[in-house]
């Protein structure tokens, strides 16, 4: 199979900050790559270089066999881009937005209009087609934005944090749309902060941090690298952490982590729900009061803690990805807890 995207040794600096420090990656034609990393890791910078918006300082990148600098126009004709926030014209209606983009892809008028109608239908926006996009909800704008990037039936689609800021229902709907596109054979490069999202949609993942690739592989390979499951306790009293750690340590396959302030104790374990039962048995009669316990699969935080030694949220220091004002309030959501007792 051929590669739809090839990136070699990409370097990008913004003033004194190095946003990308030699990134290599490839995306097989027809597959979905999840580009994972915290705010400021360089995900958006990679997307911007691949979509011809930004010039790299070193390295090279090809999309559908075309150099993104030398053949920029040909690249633009074969890609679709949905940026971090919905780039729709709020004064135009949904239909007008899509028609305009179609015309700018140089579709004939009739074709642009029929394609616009088709995509509005497909993204459940037909009812809102003649309303200015100003009146759309966040989820609707995002859908309109993705629809716009599909006007030209792109061979490669770039989705930069397509679900950031969406409520859970819109997020699920968005996942379905993306999965459908992938099934249709579109090559997709998807950036996300959510391991769960990448897990669901991506065939392969690349994790970047501070402009460097720190891990790559399938979701399972990454999780294996991170070390499987974790048992997480929230205790009623911080003083109990010592006693609980003492009793539970034999079950852990690696060093337990604890945090006094949140009264949390976290143990890397193997063995599924039996371990959970065993752990609870060991705490019986100890006087340790457990508020909450759960068996968790690793999430992006764990990937980061394991691979870099720092948490995902603290990682961002490059300012190129912190534009979205509501970003901090949307926050991260933990991955679903497998076999959780919560």
């Amino acid at each position: 199979m051929t590669d739809a995207i090839v990136v070699e040794g990409l370097v990008k600096r913004f003033g004194a900050t190095t946003a990308l420090d030699g990134v290599d990656l490839t995306v097989t034609e027809g597959s979905v790559l999840g580009l994972l990393g915290p705010n400021g890791a360089g995900k958006t910078t990679v997307v911007r270089i691949l979509t011809t918006l930004l010039l790299a300082d070193a390295g090279r990148a090809e999309v559908v066999g075309l150099d993104v600098v030398r053949d920029a126009d040909a690249v633009r004709a074969s890609i679709g881009l949905t940026g971090q926030y919905a780039a729709v014209d709020e004064y135009l209606t949904g239909f007008e937005n899509l028609e305009m983009v179609g015309r700018l892809y140089h579709l004939r008028k009739g074709e642009a209009r029929s394609r616009a109608g088709e995509l509005l239908e497909r993204f459940d926006l037909s009812d809102a087609a003649d309303r200015p996009a100003k009146t759309y909800s966040g989820g609707m704008r995002r859908r309109l934005d993705i629809a716009a990037s599909l006007i030209n039936r792109p061979r490669v689609l770039f989705l930069d944090e397509p679900t950031t800021g969406l409520d859970p229902r819109s997020r699920l709907a968005m996942w379905e749309f993306i999965a459908e596109l992938a099934d249709g054979g579109t090559t997709i490069l998807l950036t996300t902060q959510y391991l769960e999202e990448a897990d669901r949609l991506a065939d392969r993942m690349v994790v970047i941090d501070r402009g460097k690739v720190i891990a790559r592989g399938t979701g399972d390979e990454l999780k294996a690298q991170v070390g499987g499951q974790r048992l997480e306790f929230t205790l009623a009293r911080a003083v109990d952490i010592v006693e609980a750690t003492k009793r539970l340590r034999p079950l852990a396959v690696d060093e337990p982590r604890s945090d006094e302030q949140s009264r949390r104790l976290s143990l890397p374990v193997r063995g599924g729900t039996e371990v959970l039962a065993e752990a609870l048995r060991r705490l019986e009669g100890s006087g340790v009061e457990v508020l909450d316990v759960g068996l968790r699969r690793p999430d992006l935080d764990d990937v980061f803690l394991t691979l870099t030694g720092h948490a995902a949220e603290e990682a961002g220091d490059v300012d190129d990805e912190t534009r979205e004002p509501d970003r901090t309030t949307t926050g991260r959501e933990p991955a679903p807890t497998a076999g959780s007792t919560r």
Binding site: T52, A77, G83, D89, Y91, L92, E96, L104
Partner: protein, 268 residues
């Protein structure tokens, strides 16, 4: 499609998009025309009684071409503010990721703003006729007068396009251009005759292209008294030619510079 046909078609698409906004946000037009009407009325009736005009011309006749010039020049700031807004909202990113002509976003913007200026001038001319301003020349000359104003404003739009792409915040574009445009439209023959200006200001006013735009418009509308002594500077003796030189200069410098900046710009 040839490159040129593509550029024209893309520019038209963008112009249409910008004009739809004008249609959807009528406040835009209301305020774009209300403030010049206010200026016409204030200057005509408040200053009009106190400002003597050479040759016994009525102040309304003297004033209106000046107000026209100031207003269309202020109209050009919309170009900068709108581009800054498009940058902020990520629309420029979308456009830059499309296989469209690199000049189209800027051409479409400046052309739409030119359209807005045509409308503004029409409203002001009607207001002017109501308060005593008259055209004393042929239709052809009057049309040339309007064109002179519009062409200069269009060239200013390209200056503002660059400002908008560099400054990136619509409010800042507005404030910054106010600081520049207010003085250049006041240190000129816009509202008062320049003969009694202090020497330095007088020289500035004589060579200020805004003065030449106003002088040219006055001559083309016939708002000068025949037989008044000719202005002292070459610029004001040959206002249309002088304005033309500035327009060509602005376009030659700022069209390529703005397009180049657009190609490299990226929202942050």
């Amino acid at each position: 499609m040839t490159t040129l046909a593509m550029a024209v078609s893309d520019s038209l698409t963008i112009t249409r998009r910008n004009l739809i906004k004008v249609k959807r946000v009528p406040d835009l037009i209301v305020f774009a025309t209300l403030s010049p009407i206010m200026f016409v009325l204030l200057f005509r009736y408040v200053f009009g009684s106190a400002i003597p005009v050479p040759g016994g011309l009525s102040y309304a006749e003297f004033l209106l071409p000046g107000i026209f010039a100031q207003t269309v020049i202020f109209g050009s700031t919309i170009t900068g503010a709108s581009l800054a807004e498009d940058l902020q909202k990520g629309l420029i990113d979308r456009f830059r990721s499309l296989p469209m002509a690199r000049s189209a976003v800027l051409v479409g913007r400046t052309v739409a703003d030119l359209g807005l200026n045509v409308l503004t001038i029409a409203v002001m001319m009607i207001t002017g006729l109501l308060v005593g301003w008259r055209i004393h020349t042929s239709v052809g000359e009057a049309i040339l007068g309007v064109l002179l104003l519009l062409v200069f404003a269009y060239a200013m739009s390209w200056v503002m396009a660059l400002v908008g792409l560099l400054v990136r915040t619509p409010e800042v574009v507005n404030n910054a251009s106010f600081i520049v445009i207010f003085p250049i439209t006041f240190i000129a023959n816009t509202f008062v005759p320049i003969d009694n200006f202090p020497p330095v200001l007088k020289t500035f006013a004589e060579w200020n292209p805004v003065s030449a735009v106003v002088q040219g418009a006055r001559e083309l509308f016939g708002n000068v008294v025949p037989g008044t002594p000719p202005p002292e500077s070459w610029a004001l003796q040959n206002p249309v030619l002088y304005v033309f030189i500035w327009v060509v200069g602005f376009l030659v410098i700022f069209v390529p510079l703005s397009v180049r900046t657009y190609r490299r710009t990226a929202s942050r």
